[in-house]
Amino acid sequence: MTAKPRVGLFVTCLVDLVRPQVGFAAVKLLEQAGCQVEVPAAQTCCGQPAWNAGADAHAVDIARQTIAAFEGFDHVVVPSGSCGGMIKRHYPEVFEKDEAWLARARALAAKTHELMSFLVKVRGMSGVTAQFAKTVCVHDSCSSLREMGVKAEPRALLGSVSGLTIDELKDQQTCCGFGGLFSVKYPEISERMADDKIADALSTKATVLTGGDLGCLLHLKGRMARQGKALEVRHAAEILADMGGEPALGEP
């Protein structure tokens, strides 16, 4: 029997603060997939807010800290395409002119995965043991789609949940308008993009909006709460880990 792969869970700052259950769901799923999961205490945020704002010096420091904390693991798994994309696609850009750190950044990038694609593609998971008797629509974050190439995996896993039906959004390509600091700097544009996405979700038979990125989900739920729209919003990992009975995002 081969030893269990050691997986470092990059929790993400939003899961840490707002939705710890997603972190525990990720641990549960990874253990079900035969991994030994560790959560390094030396992690904070991936540094994407600094990098996207052009505050490169901050991004460099935070990226170094993350690389040092995670490079010893067999795999790094992130319950977010966005933070995963920062590590996998952008850390090597952060250190483009620093050869020593570039090598370390590339090595980390090569073993960093979005949670659901890791479960399916690396661990060969084809289904989960969970119940969720509701119709859901799936919001693909832009970074999951275009930076991490994740689309089929969440659907494959969600499709195995007992009682769950997927009714897809009509437009699966267009951004929901979150964009990190964009949502704060250009709230009205962000609002219009959210409203278009929410209208799409409400036109499906789904009573639940799910996805793999808490940033998008906080933004969409926050907007729906402001408008009194009653779609349930939760991270896909919660459903897959059979934690769908807990109160959804933004519900008491």
Partner: protein, 489 residues
Amino acid sequence: MNLDPRNFQQAAREALNDPLLRPALGRMKTHFGAGRAAAVARYGDFEALREAGKAIRDYAVTHLDELLTQFERSVVARGGTVHWARDAAEARDLILGILRDAGAKTVTKGKSMVTEEIALNPFLEANGIVPVETDLGEYIVQLRHEPPSHIIAPAFHLSKEQVAETFFASHTDLDPKRSLVERNALVQEARAVLRRSFESADAGITGANFLSAKEGAAVIVTNEGNGDLTRLLPKMHIVVTGIEKVVADMNDVAVLLRLLPRSATGQPISTYVSVMAGRRGADESDGPQAFHVVLVDNGRSKLIGTEAQDVLRCIRCSACINHCPIYGAIGGHAYGATYMGPIGAALNPGVMGVENAAHHANASTFCGRCAEVCPVKIPLPRIMRHWRAVEHSKGLAPRSITAGLGVWAFAAKRPGLYRLGASVMAWFLRMMGRRGTVHALPVMQGWFAVRDFPVPQGRTFQAQWKARRQNAAERIGLEGGNSRSRQQR
């Protein structure tokens, strides 16, 4: 109408509240997005075509000096003249000089974004020369004294009812009771009016989609045929375009012609492709008697060798604009610049200055759709991010953002402090929450302007994880203790 890129935020707000703009922008996806998707699917290996296009344009951008001098030699050999303009003012003066030397009073124009960029029309008008736009969309916005809202569909922001109003107001010599309800009636009326301009113009000005160095040819694609009437009927033809449009030869142009219309409108090829090489020959019966090319730099060459160099590969197809959710929300006028959407966001800070066009680079979620559809694979978000870094390093970023980032980054570099801060924040948000969400806070006002914030579930993940690990360790410790005590017994 916003003409200042620094007013982007206010102009964007106004655009979002414009009830006529929304249906127009709604047509964008079906009109261009679906068209491109179908054309790409029909083509086959479009990815290989994109790679070929990228290589052709990369070669051109890195050999501009060679190709442009070769282009000039080829044009001169065909009896034409090439003029070099370092900036917009020089370009305007050159064009005015050419027109004055020929005694020209009226000029027809094919659609040219470079002439928009250098603000040629108002300059010509101020100098007693009447420019008439002949592309239908461009003609409509000229009548309305508006800039184009889109680089290939200048009047995309208008409904046909608005166009009819414009025609009634402008074509006052026509029967005021005529019907302009049908789209075709609008087209026919514009054709009839423009025909008079074509016949009487002293000179024609067009842009160029490509310049072919070897043949000394300028190439344009049009769907209305106005480009050919503009360049062939008057005695003089002036091509005004950017220096970066040159490629090695017509073979390269042929590859780019497969990419351009498919990426732009979803057509396999545009209705017309005009190859314009020199003046009328001795044995030829038509064509202009004089042929001039005005090559405009206007900030382009200074991008070479910088992190923004790839933006010069652009072939102005508008695919990035057509697929941009920001453009889709606010349209083109809010940018206050000739080039809008992702290409504007990557180009404008470089040529207009970061201090003027920083909003263009910032107003993006980095969703990446633009780079995904770009026919020459320009890494648009990456270049926008570069401009943000320039803005940040020059101290031009808004203080509220940099100060907030500074505090956050201070903590993010200190995991112990960060965990404490996150725990306090989780507690605070739970205190502030009502029925699961927080409605307002004195910080992050942009967030709370349009949405609530979901209340954290409980203590932070890290705090709960640590507690679980300790419990587990104690359990193991207890069990260990019990077993020892059992042994003692």
